[in-house]
């Protein structure tokens, strides 16, 4: 079944690798994601922080476009997903008149992780696995906004989601339990207050290591950037030598399915995940 796809601004920019892995995985799984025509920025943290009107009006325009296109819409970015859901709720309430868009609420807004791991899609993945990710020890990291607040996201397992864990199990990897999977990494403050990020993200590194993890698996490009780009700086600041690759879940699906482009996507990360995969025999040594 065809669905609309709302990539969001960073998938056209710093998260090009996430965008490429999504295109690769969905093509492999024969899912049709049609990019929503003329979509605009959802306004992100900036709009909801300082301009309530734009915080709803910007995503509301996208919902109107998506409904006119006639399909459910899939969103890979946790923040965009959250803002689109917030607009959906506002359009069903007293603020609708002020937003001046035509939207009946006849489409479903999916976050990409839910969409790709819904039943029975996850089971159907199993026979397609060319290379189980045996012995790869990972913690799933969901971040905040894909689940919270449930009144906006309509999620039921918002304190202890299990999608990533179930997925890792199907892919043959080892998913480790830890208590920080929905804790905030502070990505919205990464530019303006990097010192705050250092404290929040270092705590995540330490807790992941304590759980026995070798890497993170994420479904949000803001979390990915925040955990990946700041790792060198945080290592230096705390006198540690962290080396915790941060995978997108789509990259790990593609790796298990044997997609040939995986090494290319992974080469875009700052913390190079390839040595870890090579040590597990999951990737051919570099020539």
């Amino acid at each position: 079944m065809k669905v609309s796809y709302y990539p969001g601004c960073s998938l056209e920019g710093t998260a090009l690798d996430y965008a490429a892995s999504i295109a690769g995985v969905t093509r492999f799984l024969e899912l049709e994601l049609a990019e929503l025509e003329d979509w605009n920025c959802c306004g992100a943290s900036a709009a909801h922080s300082i301009n309530h009107h734009l915080a709803l009006a910007l995503p509301a325009r996208n919902l109107a476009l998506a409904e006119a296109a006639g399909c459910d819409v899939v969103v890979p970015c946790a923040l965009c997903f959250n803002r689109l859901k917030a607009a959906e709720k506002a359009l069903a309430g007293p603020e609708a008149a002020r937003l001046q868009v035509t939207y009946q609420g006849n489409i479903k807004i999916w976050d990409l992780l839910d969409y790709l791991t819904q039943e029975p899609r996850l089971e159907k993945l199993l026979p397609k696995i060319a290379q189980p990710l045996t012995d790869l020890k990972a913690v799933g990291y969901y971040g905040c906004l894909v689940a919270r607040p449930p009144a906006v996201t309509d999620k039921s397992d918002y304190e202890n989601p299990q999608n990533l864990e179930r997925l890792l199990e199907v892919l043959g990897a080892t998913s480790l339990d830890w208590s920080f999977k929905t804790d905030c990494c502070g990505a919205g403050l990464a530019v303006a207050r990097p010192d705050i990020i250092d404290t929040l993200v270092q705590r995540l590194y330490e807790r992941a290591l304590a759980a026995g993890a070798e890497c993170f698996v994420v479904s949000c490009q803001m979390c990915q950037a925040n955990l990946d780009l700041s790792q060198e700086r945080i290592s230096k600041k705390f006198g540690k030598d962290y080396h915790l690759p941060v995978f997108y879940f789509t990259e790990l699906i593609a790796l298990a399915l044997g997609h040939p482009q995986v090494p290319l996507w992974l080469s875009k990360h700052l913390v190079d995940p390839r040595p870890l995969l090579q040590s597990k025999g999951l990737m051919a040594p570099q020539a």
Binding site: N40, H52, C184
Partner: protein, 182 residues
């Protein structure tokens, strides 16, 4: 203030019974001058000046943990947002000027690019702003290094996205928003 909050935003704070669950679960208390439960309490007491001048409202990362867990259904993160907007509306100097500037540059970036954000332009503008306020060569070099690493990997686009067909419509949304640009 309580009435204004309730009236303008349906954000009732009067049902708070100070259980402090919001502050217990908040990951950012180490950077705050008021705890989230104190923000709600001060709102109830009408202590507007202290709230609008606080650092807390700007370092709240809007992770929504407090809103999710409040046993009385108070949208605490929503109250933080309302206070930020109100502070700017009243022309107050934000207690975290860099955070406020980042948000403003972000929104102006969407408007000026015709509907989508150009990340690299936003970072450039913000970096110049910070350099002018507080020349810190170390931080600048750190940023340039990350920029270079992203550029080498093809993850930094210096140009912006194309303007949308709906550019005029987007412009109208901004015009109706009364975005304050000091």
């Amino acid at each position: 203030m309580v009435e204004q909050l309730a009236e303008e935003t349906h954000l009732g704070v009067s049902s708070c019974y100070q259980c402090k669950k919001c502050s217990s679960g908040c990951p950012l208390t180490f950077a705050m001058d008021l705890l989230p439960d104190q923000v709600i309490r001060l709102a109830l007491l009408g202590q507007e000046e202290r709230l609008l001048g606080s650092r807390t409202i700007w370092v709240c990362s809007a992770c929504e943990t407090c809103t999710t867990r409040c046993p009385n259904g108070i949208d605490i993160a929503g109250v933080m947002d309302w206070l930020k907007e109100e502070a700017l509306r009243q022309g107050k100097t934000a207690a975290q000027p860099e955070v406020a500037a980042f948000h403003r540059f972000f929104l102006e970036g969407i408007r000026d690019n015709g509907g989508r954000l150009a990340e690299s332009r936003l970072i450039r503008r913000f970096t110049l702003f910070r350099l002018w306020r507080r020349p810190d060569v170390g931080a600048l070099l750190d940023n340039l290094k990350i920029g270079w690493q992203l550029w080498r990997r093809g993850r930094l686009r210096l140009g912006g996205p194309p303007a949308l067909q709906g550019k005029v419509e987007i412009g109208r949304l901004f015009a109706n928003s009364r975005l304050s640009t000091p």
